[in-house]
């Protein structure tokens, strides 16, 4: 009897380990995460507008239909990414995600404070290569460090009314995401 209870206790402990291991491994094992869904639609290091979600099709679940969205799927192996996004009239935001969909940085138009959101995205190693003093002279541009080499930049512009959707899409159409030298 005691022996059987010990076996069950051991099994439950082992089950706990299996549980933790599978939860931690899930982000690496997932084949249908946001990055995988966007990979066939978006060439690397360029800004691509996403279709507004409808009842029939939606690139990702739980997308806000009041927003026009554009995605830059980046890869920092050949240089840094320079993002330039003009602001729409209502509300514009930029969110940075790692390869595994963790939002590590987000900024909206008001926080950016100018007529366009301008950012340089680089890995910590590339940031270390930026010459001393360069940071200060280039104070105009915000520098963001990406924890991973690849990831997603998602640009969202609000259409406060359905009729303003073309305007929001137009604002995003002028956004640029291109690879640049580290200097």
């Amino acid at each position: 009897m005691i022996r059987a209870l010990l076996w069950i206790l051991g099994a439950i402990l082992l089950g706990g380990i299996v549980h933790l291991a599978t939860v931690l491994a899930m982000p690496q094992a997932a084949t249908q995460d946001a990055y995988a869904r966007l990979a066939p639609l978006t060439p690397v290091n360029s800004m691509v507008p996403l279709a507004t979600p409808t009842a029939e099709t939606s690139v990702m679940p739980f997308m806000d239909p009041a927003f026009a969205a554009a995605v830059c799927r980046y890869d920092l192996s050949s240089g840094i990414v320079k993002l330039n996004a003009p602001l729409s009239q209502a509300y514009t935001s930029v969110t940075f995600y790692t390869r595994n969909s963790v939002a590590y940085y987000a900024i909206d138009d008001r926080a950016a404070g100018r007529r366009a959101i301008e950012l340089d995205l680089m890995t910590p190693a590339q940031h270390a290569e930026v010459p001393e003093g360069e940071d200060v002279t280039a104070a105009d541009r915000l520098i963001i460090e990406s924890p991973t080499r690849t990831g997603l930049i998602v640009l969202r512009a609000l259409a406060p009314e359905p009729g303003l959707m073309p305007m929001a899409r137009q604002a995003l159409a002028n956004a640029q995401c291109r690879i640049g030298p580290v200097q």
Partner: protein, 192 residues
């Protein structure tokens, strides 16, 4: 023989317990640090690097991109204020005031995060397009058939989820208390 039987049994039970609890937590979307206001729940940490492993696993499986903390915060409701499950064949009203935010949107999804087809092609409202009364208050009728005022069609589906997104808001960053941030009340009216 007894040892072999015992270890086989233990391994099977371990696999069942481990995988079963993982499946349960991921499919229900368990995450820590929830902020509950009435029927609404938000997980502000999910939009930052402080995201917990359960939320990470959930978003990896569903394929969604969480709202970044510097962008806004999303509140989810699956029931009304008294715990009745949101049923698309019934009429629910959403009314009251909202926390401080530059803009907000409310959207109706099915349980897997898809928009619901309807004749109006309406899936939600934004804070600018909603019709308010003279005091600035509003009432949204979530119902299968047309209603006067702000009608949010359910398409008659059995279960749905309401998502209230606040953009450019201090909620979730500076505030942790629910008293500061009143969310609109969800009340069930009639079922057809």
């Amino acid at each position: 023989m007894r040892l072999l039987f015992g270890s086989c049994f233990a391994l099977l039970l371990a696999a069942a317990v481990g995988l079963g609890t993982t499946w349960l937590t991921i499919s229900r979307g368990v995450a820590f640090g929830a902020m509950t206001v009435g029927a609404w729940r938000a997980w502000p940490r999910t939009g930052s690097v402080d995201i917990d492993p359960y939320a990470r696993a959930t978003i990896a499986r569903t394929g969604e991109l969480p709202l970044g903390t510097g962008d806004g915060v999303a509140f989810y409701a699956r029931t009304d204020d008294t715990g009745n499950v949101l049923d698309g064949r019934c009429t629910f009203t959403i009314s009251g005031t909202t926390p401080t935010a530059r803009y907000w949107t409310v959207t109706l999804y099915d349980r897997s995060g898809r928009l619901v087809a309807n004749t109006l092609d309406r899936h939600g409202f934004t804070s600018t397009e909603i019709v308010r009364d003279v005091d600035g208050r509003f009432t949204i009728s979530v119902a299968p058939r047309a209603r006067p005022g702000n009608w949010l069609p359910t398409g008659g589906i059995e279960r749905y989820v309401l998502v209230w997104r606040l953009y450019d808001t201090p909620v979730g960053i500076t505030s942790r208390t629910t008293k500061q941030d009143p969310m609109p009340a969800i009340v069930r009216k009639a079922c057809s």
